[in-house]
């Protein structure tokens, strides 16, 4: 998604290395996707359509 637009930054965060950050977002299992610092999230796998839906939702807040 980041490759499609400058608006998106996609960061793969290694949860053990960045434990504080993982804790801040309540990450207990992986993968866990956080959208805009918690405005949205997906626990588990994030298929393309689901991710689009969650991003839309998160941006409405």
């Amino acid at each position: 998604m980041a490759l499609e637009t400058r608006m998106v930054k996609a960061e793969m965060v290694e949860a053990m290395e960045f434990q504080d950050l993982a804790m801040e977002f309540g990450v207990s299992g992986v993968p866990h996707t956080i959208i805009n610092a918690g405005a949205g999230e997906i626990v588990g796998a994030a298929p393309e359509n689901r991710l689009v839906m969650e991003i839309s939702q998160a941006l409405k807040q």
Binding site: M1, A2, L3, E4, T5, R6, M7, V8, K9, A10, E11, M12, V13, E14, A15, M16, E17, F18, L21, A22, F25, V27, V30, P31, H32, T33, I34, I35, N36, A37, A46, E48, N49, L51, V52, I55, S56, A58, L59
Partner: protein, 148 residues
């Protein structure tokens, strides 16, 4: 330090790298300030990966000393690295960032990411591309993963 990639893995990765098209620079940010337990390891691992194709290169920066570069690539933590599109001498930010060591399953994500950026194609479906093209606000995705 011993090599991370054994001959079998190197062979596999070389085969996958047949799919590389355009140059990609792996832009690494380490730090002398923040605790960077695996900086040396990641640096070495990335070096071994880029050595497997002439289309790949590694650029090394420091998060604090090269703050301008970090800002340009939207990097705010170390160790992190960006898969930047290399066009001529120009490094173009893609927003594709890995924070922490890409071991085990994440190693596959790294190889997939390199292929994607090299092909300059996200592989996403048309509806998703249209949605992304219409974004007017920044979206920061953080996918938390572990090496196991």
């Amino acid at each position: 330090m011993e090599k991370f990639l054994g001959p079998d893995v190197e062979k596999q990765v070389r085969e996958m790298f047949q799919g590389l098209k355009e140059p990609v620079a792996v832009v690494f940010f380490g730090s002398k300030v923040v605790h960077c337990e695996y900086c040396k390891e990641i640096h070495q691992l990335l070096g071994e990966v880029v050595a497997l194709s002439p289309l790949l290169s590694l650029e090394v920066f420091d998060l604090e000393e090269n703050a301008e570069m970090a800002a340009r690539f939207r990097v705010d933590k170390a160790p992190s690295f960006v898969l930047a599109a290399k066009n001529g001498d120009q490094l173009e930010d893609t927003g594709v960032i890995f924070a922490g060591i890409p071991a085990q399953y994440e190693f596959t994500s790294l190889i997939d990411g390199l292929l994607m950026v090299s092909q300059r194609d996200s592989g996403l479906n048309e509806a998703t591309r249209q949605f992304l093209a219409g974004l007017t606000q920044p979206v920061h995705l953080q996918v938390f993963v572990t090496p196991t």
